[in-house]
Each structure stands twice: as structure tokens, then as C-alpha cells.
Amino acid sequence: MGSHSNKTMKQSNKYWANVRKQYAKNKRALFAAYIVLFLSFIAVFADFLANNKPILMKYQDNWYSPVLKEYTVSLGIGKWSPELVRTDFKTLKMDFAIWSPIRYLPTNPNYNSIYVRPFSENAGIGRHWLGTDKLGRDVAAGMVHGTRIAFSVGVVAMGISFFIGVFLGTIAGYFGDDRLKISRIRLLLNLLFLPLAFFYAFMVRSDVLGDSFAVSLFTFIFQFLLSLLFFIGILLIPNLLTIPLKRIRFLGKKISLPLDIILTRFIEVVVSVPVLVLILVVIAIAKPSIYNVMIIIGLFGWPGIARFVRAELMKIRRLEYIEAADALGFSHFRTMFKHAVPNALSPVFISVAFGVAAAILIEAFLSFLGIGVPSDMITWGKLLNLSRGNSSAWWLAVFPGFAIFITVTVFNLIGEGLTDALDPKLRK
């Protein structure tokens, strides 16, 4: 067994090495990958690249790292020493300090330097490399922190889409329309008990759940899990009842669940919905929060992934090793997610790359329209929108827009490169 798995490991390594080789042949895509790496670096280290606090400083013979300290403080672990609470670090007399390249936070207004042009010298400390906006906020700092927001929206939204898409696509592709068989009685009883379980677990307890939310999030989660437990408990009843009732031949007759048809229809519904319009509406209803934006974009982005996985699994489920797994008596679940899915994932990455580009574009568009993103958060789209207030402030239009363009382009290029690298038909 050990040597066998080693062998498959080697084979899969070989496969990926091949893909990597093919991908590297595409110079544009390779270049795009490097840019993504660079942008991810900016996104991760945004706090070190643009901050109004020094990265490292020596003050009254003590060494501090205010940027790192801020992380611990916001996590509730650390505390500012009394003389540093609410200090403006720029006016502090320090013996030694390493500052960020951009000495501003994107949200700090400075009314003495509004609409500063890019690259111009200014009297205070720290240049405004890319100028400032109507409140004197530094554009370069906004760009750096905007990178983080754009990337996290892209990654989280696509993460959500990935899980939904892979899960639904796997189930539909693996079971198809005829492989998941359950007895008539089990289906009937489950359908009957589903509303009942919902009634007793959630509707009857709606006041308890609502009140617990007012107490604390923790109690709410506890009560919610309790409700979930009720739900599962009640659903156990029909499944236990099935065991004796199955013996009756008429009731025990197996019927197959058309999971594939259900998913295809479902995808058709989701695709018919004008996604951008619906996202606009949902985000307008929900409270402005970047997490809502991520979640909602993610909830609508999965159909492409599901289609890919479904198609792959339909091929894979006919392969011998899946039959072998079946013959060995592995559970469907184990066969699906442990053996079939890992081999179906490679084409999904194409969809994910394009999806990240789309998600970043949607987030930029939403914040450009001023919908969904909280007012105290600076994003690329918001900076771009600020340019509409002053037609001479060209830097507000050019730099953020360029950032959006480059990011969307490189992810699209990666998607194209992956398509070429993974599709053997195109290899010549």
C-alpha cells in the first residue's frame, strides 16, 4: 500500500511538473504570475508598506515596533504603553526609527494638504508619492491598502465559490441521475419530516434564538447548534422508521434520485439571475460591510466551477480505480472526496483564476458606485470615484484604475495560461 501511494504521488508530481512546464512556456502567463506574487506581497505587508507608525523605533532607550504592536493590540493581547497611547508618532522625538516607505494611513485626513499633486515635495515629513484626495488622504497608502482589500475579496469570494461549486459538482457528477438510490419509504418519510424538523428546531425556538442573539454571539451560536441538534435528531426518526418499513416490498423499492438534473436546473436558475444587479440589490439591503460583499460575490460565483467538476467527475467515475474503490466497499463519501475529487480539481483552477478577476472587478465596481463598502474604508474603486469630484485631479483616476486593470488582466492571463497548460488538445 505504501509503495503504491508513493507511486501515485510520483505520478501526480510528474503531472504537475508537466503542467508547470507547459505553463512556463507561455511567457505572458508566467509574467502575470510574478505580478500576482508581487501584488500578494503588497497585500500581505500593507501595514508595513504604508503606515503612520514606524516599523521599528528607539524611544527613551526602549525598542518598540509599533506596527507589530498594533496587531497584538487589535487582537486584544497587547497594550500600548501609557506614553504611547494616542501619540502622533510623527511628532515623537525618537532616537532611531525605521519608517514605512509611505508614511501615511489611507484613512487619515490632513486638511492642510488637499489635492496635492503626485511626486511633489511637501513641507511635512513624508512625500505624497501619488498625491492626495479632497480630504488630504494619501493616495499611495490607499492603493497599498486597497490591494489588500481587493485580494481578500478575490480570495475569500472564490474560496466560497470553490467549496460550493466543488461540493455540488462532485455530488452531481459522481452520482449522476441514477447512482444514488434510496427506498421509496425513506424518501417519503424524509420529505415529510423535513418541514416538521424545521418547525420544531427553528420556528418553535425562534424567540429563544432571537433573544440569545441579544445576549452575545456565543450564546447565539450555542442555541443555534442546539437547534441544529434538534433538527438532526428529528430527522433521525424517519430514517429509523425506514428500517422496519423497508421490508414491505412496495415501500422498500429503490428509486434513484436525479441529482444531476436537479443541479443542472439549479445552475440554470442561478445563471439566469442577472448577477450584478442582484448583488447590487442584496448589498444595498444588507449592512455595508466588506465581508458581505465577499460572501455575496462568492455565493453567486460557483456555477462555472460546479460545471467543470461535474464534467470531470462524470469521466472519472467510469475509471477503473473508482470501480475498485466501490468493490472494496468504501463509502460513497470516501470514494468521492478522497479519490475522485483530487483528480478532478486541475481544470477548476482555470475557473478560479477567472473568478478571482471577476470578483475583484465586481468589488471595484461596487465601491466605485459607493454601494456595500463601509464609508471609512478606502478601496481602489472608491479612489477612482473620488476623481469624479475634481476633473483636474487626474492622479485619482489614473492610478487606482490602472491597479484594477492590471490585477484583472493578470488573473485573466493566468486563467488563459492554465487553460493552455491543462488542455492537452491545444498542446502542439
Binding site: 418541514p195 416538521l196 418547525f199 420544531y200 420556528m203 418553535v204 425562534s206 424567540d207 436546473r265 440554470e268 436558475v269 445563471v271 439566469s272 439571475v273 442577472p274 450584478l276 444587479v277 442582484l278 447590487l280 440589490v281 442584496v282 444595498a284 439591503i285 478577476a357 472587478l361 471595484a364 465596481f365 466605485f368 458606485l369 454601494i371 477612482l384 476623481s387 469624479r388 476633473s391 483636474s392 487626474w394 483616476a397 489614473v398 484604475g401 484594477i404 486593470f405 484583472v408 488582466t409 485573466n412 492571463l413 488563459e416
Partner: protein
């Protein structure tokens, strides 16, 4: 075979539409806040009368859906209570007691007491007490916690014991205390644990929204024309002579005690019976509740209508405490205008200013259709030759440059391009107007108007067109490359056919699919517009209307546009699928 495929495709279309409409309907229902007050800037100006009018205009006086799934403790008529907060309080009280009868009585007694307080004469000794009474009573509508309600009642008790001049209000207050005691004593909590499904019938909000409650086939036009004439006929006598043929709606109004305030009771036991006889033929009507008493009948000119009204015996608790008086009864001309025609017949309901949504949308649809039609024509004219050309020159320098250029164009966000164009070509160089569609001077000729409009439309049209142009060119190139690599093209060339014939007759026809796909997207884009372009250039099309509606919390408009877009998206896919099957006979009609 093809016909069967199309039929099947249309049949699939219906459930998809139902599901999408349900999702949109649910979204609408789950928006926090009172739907009656949505979009209004200040709620102070809304009197009870206006509130009820709005409530009815939005069809909120109907049940939400065909059925409801609740516990046995709930009545089937909660939707008849207009105020959302009151409804929420009632629901909580029902869940706490399990007894709808008692909960209802408690609430009605609060209302009665409120009316008594309003009617009480205030003088210098009790003016502030009356205000405190009113505030405390009003708070009771929101209060669900027993200890808090008891505290409020004790407070009221203190007010009564210290102010002798308020003795007239003592009886309603005692009733209130009794009703609360009854509510606490007669709990039937077991009802909370019995699930029930209640059937509400076709007259529900969802059904009215989609299909309307106006009959689809009848002679309503005739009635509409003569509406005002009879509306003024008030009847003290019970016999009315009909002056014109038509449908009539008889609506008796029942008011509680002498007061003019309208009581909306959800109590099923207060059924009203009345009979309408036309020329000796009588039919009796029964109503669900006091407010919705009505009879709709057809009468000819000269008919003698005799109307008799009687109330069914009231429930005990009512008879003990209150009397109903029959206020003015009137014969209204039945006005079918009040009924909704439903979404599918082009009636999108009313927006927060009570304007018909369809009118609002109509103003925007012209510009959107104009620009998208122009844009589509341009896209096809440019991108098809471009894609084919690029595919023919595959691997050459021209193709490489063209592909890179198209790829860049494809990735350029059009809201950025639009902003840049406005900034540089509009603001900096001043070559183009940057906002709106231009003012037309009075007496301008058609040519002048057209040229002003065209001048204003150049930049928006460019921003609208280039993304789909880039997309289609790339698709066209891909599709063409795929086709040109096939054996039949080689055969055609080997046959010695002209290159032109090979490309356009054999190659092109087989790479039509991307063109059809883009065509499928025309419809949804017409409706939702290219939001960015319209907003940035200030074009009053659908996209701008949508965004303005979102910013104004004007949800009837928002959901109408979403629904319309979804509907047209599906129609687009339907047409595309049918076109696919016509163009490419290999697609199986499964």
C-alpha cells in the same frame, strides 16, 4: 422534432421563472423595516389615513403567499394588521401565550383605551397626565416582556389613583387590566407545538404581484368609463336605482362605537352578512372580517337594488363590552383600476411615491434600447470581420498584436475607461460633453436634435460597445480557428474552392455559436443597462433608474427591474438555445 425540443425548452422555462420570482419576492419580504414606510424621508408626516392608503396600495392587506406554515396558535388573518411593529409584537405575544383570542382582546383593549384617552377632555389639571398616559399606552404596543408590561400597567395605575379628573377613563383601564390578566391566565401553550398549514387562496401578495387580481378575461372596460357618477350616491335608504349598466361594488363600513377611527380586527368571528337583491333575485354575501365587507355584482340600467345588512351574533366578549354601530353605507362604483394587473401583464405595482413603476421604467427604456441597439450593430459590424481576419492570419505578427490588443481591451474595466475619457477628452481637452444628453433648443429641427444627441452619445456608446466588441472578436477568432482546423475545411480547399468561399460559406457558418451567445445577452443588458456607463455619463436609462432606486430605497422599482432583467435573460437563453439548434443540426434534441 425541433418543435418538440422548443416546446420542452419553454416548459423548462416556466419553473425557472417561478423559482426566480420566488427568490426576488422573498428578498423583498426580508428587507428590514416597515414596507409601508420604505423610501420615505420623514415618517412624521404620515397620518394613520395615509399609512393605510399606502398599505393598501402596496397590496399588503393580502396574505403573503398561497399558504403559510405556522403553529396552531397563529390565526390565519394576521396580515390584516397593517403596522409591522404591532404585528411583530402580536406574534411574540401569541408565542408566549399560545392563545390568539386573548392576545387579540388585549390588543383591542389597548386600542380602545387609546381612543378613550384621545377623546378625553384635557384641562390644566390633567393635561400632562394625559400625555403620559398616551406615551405609556403607545409603549404597550411594542412591549412583550411580562415584567415590563406589568411595570407599565402599575405606572398607569399610579396615574389614575393620583388624578381624580380622569375617572372617566377608569373603565377602559380596568378592561385593559382584565384583558392582560386573562392573557396571562388562559395560556394554551400546547398550540405552539402543533404545526399547521393554512391555505390562503389565490388572493395573496405573490399571486397579485405576478398574475394580478384583476380578471384576465372580462368586460371591465365598460365599467371604467362611468366610474365617478355613482360614487357620490350615498344611501340612507336601502333601495337604489341603477343609472348605468356595469359592475358595482357594495362596501358597507362598520365603525366601532361612535368614533371615526377605523378598527381593523382580525377576528374571524365578526362575520357580516348582507343580502343584495337585484330585481327580486337576491344573493347573500358573507365577509371575512369587518373591513373587507364587499359585494361585487353586475346590474343593468333601471334595476332596483335592495340591500339588507345584518350582523351575525358577536362573540361573548364583544357583546359584553362594545356595540357596533353601522356607519354610512355606500354604493361605490366598482373601480377595477384599484386592482393590479400583475407583473406578467405589465403592471409592476407602485413605487414609494405611489407612482406606477411601469411609468418610471418606461422613461428610461427608450435610451437604453437606443444605445444597446446601436452598440450591438457596431459590435457585429466590427468584431466579426476582425475575428475572422485574426484567425486567418494566425501566428503572424498582425495576429499577435491584434490578440494582445483585444485581450487588453477585454480586461479594461469600462467604468475606468469612462472616467478617463470624461477627464481627458471631456474635461481637459473639452472635445466632448461630459454629462447628460444635451439641451435641445426650442424649435430645433430633427437634424439638429439628432446631431446634438449623437454628439452626446459618442463617448457613452464607445464605452458601452468596446467590452462586447473585444469579447466577441476573441470568441470569433477562437471559434473560427477551431473550425478552420477541421477536416471539411481541408476538403473544401482541396476541392479548389476559392478562399473566400471556404472562409465565409464553410467556416463562418460553423462558428456562429459565439455570435448567438452574445445575442442572448442583449436582452438582459438592455434592461439592467450598462449601469456604469449610464451613471457616469448621466444618461437617464434603465441602469441609472436602477441605481437611483437603490439609493432611494425604492424597492418596488428595484425589484421590477431585477425581475424584468431575469425574465429577459431567460428569454435570451431560450432564443439562443433555439437558434443553436437551428444553426447546428448536430445538437441533440434531448
Amino acid at each position: 422534432m425541433l418543435f418538440r425540443y422548443i416546446l420542452k425548452r419553454i416548459l423548462i422555462f416556466i419553473p425557472t421563472l417561478v423559482i426566480i420570482s420566488l427568490v426576488i419576492f422573498l428578498l423583498d419580504k426580508y428587507i428590514p423595516g416597515d414596507p409601508v414606510l420604505r423610501g420615505l424621508q420623514s415618517e412624521d408626516l404620515i397620518t394613520e389615513k395615509i399609512y393605510l392608503e399606502r398599505w393598501e396600495s402596496f397590496n399588503l392587506n393580502y396574505p403573503t403567499f398561497y399558504f403559510s406554515f405556522t403553529s396552531k396558535a397563529y390565526p390565519d388573518s394576521l396580515h390584516l394588521i397593517p403596522h409591522k411593529e404591532k404585528r411583530t409584537t402580536l406574534e411574540t405575544l401569541i408565542r408566549q401565550s399560545g392563545n390568539w383570542e386573548r392576545t387579540q382582546q388585549y390588543f383591542q383593549v389597548i386600542q380602545l383605551m387609546e381612543k378613550a384617552v384621545d377623546a378625553a377632555e384635557s384641562d390644566s389639571t390633567n393635561a400632562d397626565k394625559l400625555i403620559r398616559l398616551r406615551v405609556n399606552l403607545n409603549n404597550l404596543y411594542d412591549e412583550t416582556k411580562p415584567d415590563k408590561i406589568e411595570r407599565k400597567l402599575r405606572k398607569l395605575n399610579v396615574i389614575f389613583s393620583t388624578t381624580l379628573s380622569l375617572n372617566a377613563l377608569k373603565t377602559p383601564f380596568d378592561n385593559l387590566q382584565n384583558a392582560y390578566q386573562n392573557l396571562q391566565n388562559d395560556k394554551t401553550l400546547w398550540k405552539n407545538y402543533v404545526p399547521t398549514i393554512q391555505w390562503h387562496g389565490l388572493e395573496n401578495q405573490y399571486h397579485i404581484w405576478i398574475l394580478g387580481n384583476k380578471p384576465w378575461w372580462n368586460r371591465t372596460k365598460n365599467i371604467f368609463a362611468i366610474s365617478d357618477k355613482i360614487a357620490s350616491t350615498s344611501i340612507d335608504k336601502n333601495t337604489i336605482e341603477i343609472e348605468e349598466n356595469g359592475y358595482y361594488k357594495f362596501q358597507p363600513k362598520f365603525d366601532l362605537i361612535e368614533n371615526n377611527g377605523r378598527l381593523r380586527t382580525a377576528d374571524l368571528s365578526n362575520k357580516v352578512l348582507f343580502e343584495v337583491s337585484i330585481d327580486g333575485k337576491s344573493s347573500s354575501y358573507k365577509t371575512k372580517d369587518l373591513e373587507n365587507a364587499e359585494a361585487i355584482f353586475y346590474a343593468k340600467k333601471g334595476d332596483q337594488i335592495l340591500i339588507e345588512i345584518g350582523l351575525k351574533p358577536l362573540t361573548k366578549s364583544y357583546q359584553l363590552t362594545y356595540n357596533y354601530s353601522l356607519a354610512a353605507t355606500q354604493l361605490l362604483h366598482y373601480n377595477p383600476n384599484k386592482q393590479s394587473k400583475g407583473f406578467l401583464r405589465g403592471d409592476f405595482g407602485k413605487n414609494f411615491q405611489l407612482k406606477p413603476v411601469s411609468q418610471i421604467i418606461k422613461t428610461g427604456i427608450f435610451w437604453t434600447i437606443l444605445i444597446s441597439t446601436l452598440s450591438i450593430i457596431l459590435t457585429y459590424l466590427i468584431s466579426i470581420p476582425l475575428g475572422v481576419y485574426s484567425a486567418r492570419k494566425k501566428g503572424t505578427r498582425v495576429d499577435n498584436i491584434l490578440s494582445t490588443f483585444l485581450f487588453m481591451l477585454y480586461s479594461l474595466p469600462n467604468f475606468w475607461v469612462a472616467t478617463l475619457l470624461i477627464l481627458f477628452l471631456g474635461g481637459y481637452l473639452g472635445w466632448f460633453p461630459i454629462f447628460g444628453l444635451g439641451d435641445i433648443p426650442e424649435g430645433a429641427s430633427i437634424m439638429e436634435t439628432a446631431s446634438i444627441r449623437a454628439y452626446h452619445l459618442i463617448l457613452p456608446l464607445f464605452c458601452w460597445t468596446y467590452p462586447s466588441l473585444a469579447f466577441l472578436s476573441r470568441q470569433m477568432r477562437g471559434g473560427m480557428l477551431n473550425t478552420l482546423g477541421q477536416d471539411f475545411i481541408r476538403t473544401a480547399r482541396a476541392k479548389g474552392l476559392e478562399e473566400k468561399t471556404v472562409i465565409w460559406k464553410h467556416g463562418f457558418r460553423n462558428s456562429l455559436l459565439p455570435i448567438i451567445t452574445l445575442f442572448a445577452n442583449v436582452f438582459p443588458r438592455m434592461v439592467s443597462g450598462s449601469i456604469a456607463v449610464e451613471v457616469i455619463f448621466g444618461i437617464p436609462g434603465m441602469g441609472k433608474i436602477l441605481l437611483d432606486a437603490i439609493n432611494n430605497n425604492d424597492f418596488p422599482v428595484v425589484f421590477a427591474i431585477v425581475m424584468l432583467t431575469a425574465l429577459l435573460t431567460m428569454v435570451g437563453y431560450l432564443i439562443a438555445d433555439i437558434l443553436y439548434s437551428i444553426v447546428d443540426p448536430r445538437i441533440k434534441y434531448k
